[in-house]
Amino acid sequence: MLIDSFTVIAQIINFLILIYLLKRFLFNRIIKIMDDREMQITDQMKDAETAKEEAQKELEEQRRIREELQEKWNEMLAQAKKDARKKRDELVKDARSKIDEEQKNWKEAILKQQTAFLRDLRHLSCEQVCQISRKVLSDLAGEKLENQLIENFLVQLGKLSKKEKDDFVRFIGKDEQKLWVNSSFRLTKEKESEIRKTLEDVIGDKVEINFKVSPDLICGIETRTEGKKISWNIENYLDGLEEQLKKAFTEISFQELDVEKKKTE
């Protein structure tokens, strides 16, 4: 017989024991572990998904912030450029006005220098002309320049027209009735009396005539009241010379300026 009843029963019992043992030691544990792992993996994946979403959000946020910053930066840059341009314009304007002022001051200084030089030149020229004239007169004609001046002055007085005489008299002070005769040199008594006589002839003898030495005249003689004078001196000749010199200076200085401008360019 192929089937042994004792063996069958024993095998059934054996198999039941095997089921119990394997269930206890293998299946329950392994299945639990597998389920736990599956759950853990699911949780982890969920977590990862959440983390990914958060990261995505964070990324979006960062991107937005970066764009904002970029925009702000651009704005600030534009503002800074604008400010810088404005500042530059202001500075240029300032510099230009300063330069203009300097130029003006410089021109004024030049003009002052020119004026001073001309004054000095005039003075010097007068003296030179006087000395030369004096020397020429004494050498060639044996005459003194001063005498010739007085002679001529007297002739001038004598030549005055009626209207000129009236004008002159009118300016003599009513109360004081004074008249000055200024000369660059001391007059001799003879000459003084001669001049007094001529003046009395012209304007009458009611006025008091004073003589005075005035070095400002350089070389010459004049008679003056409060508001009017009759003079005969070398300065009258020098006015023309001064005009010529002024013109010449102006031309020279303008030429120099042009040259400098070209150099700087």
Binding site: V8, L21, L22, F27
Partner: protein, 237 residues
Amino acid sequence: MEISPDAIIIFKWNGIHLNATIIFTWVVMAILFFISWMATKNLTIGPKISRWQNFLEVIIGYIRQQVKEITQQNPDPFIPFLGSLFMFISLSGLLTIIPGFQPPTGSLSTTSALAICVFFAIPIFGIAKKGARAYFKHYLEPSIFMAPFNIIGDFSRTLALAVRLFGNVMSGTLIVAVLLIITPLFVPIVMQILGLLIGQIQAYIFTVLATVYIASATRVESKPEQINQEEGSKEDE
């Protein structure tokens, strides 16, 4: 020459005679228990697991998947029974490679015992799942006249299970034994390899058939949508 290892009596005492079948069954059981105990001694759910754990997880995972596919239900209640069946038959077949080992499944007593276990497991699972009334009702379908045939079908399939497994395993062992006599060199090795393959296939067939029987007994046919919902809710968990 013995057809069944039952005939090899190793120990005899007071009417109790321990034959080779029982002894080798104990050997298989001991190996299974030892492997399980070793593998589950320190289980981890972390990414680093022991090789034994990994090996058993693969096998059990595969069994679960198969059972789930066949039953269309949560496989966990059936796993200890079906898993033990498969592992016992499979290991018995595998150990034939060891000279002198007599597979316990080559004994009709063992296969009968396993078939009897399946025979009783079917109504137990069916009643546990559907209740006694609903379970026994299916014997009366499609009509009351079919009840005897249904009952005969239950017995015949149990018999078929036992004989199929016994025949295959016994023939494999026997062919090797016969060939050893005729052509002692090389040919028995090929046949032994074939025997190994047949042992695994039989383990699979036996388990799958048991699964199908249990599945048919536990299936709630009238409300298929309810099954789907249960499945869905379990998968969600």
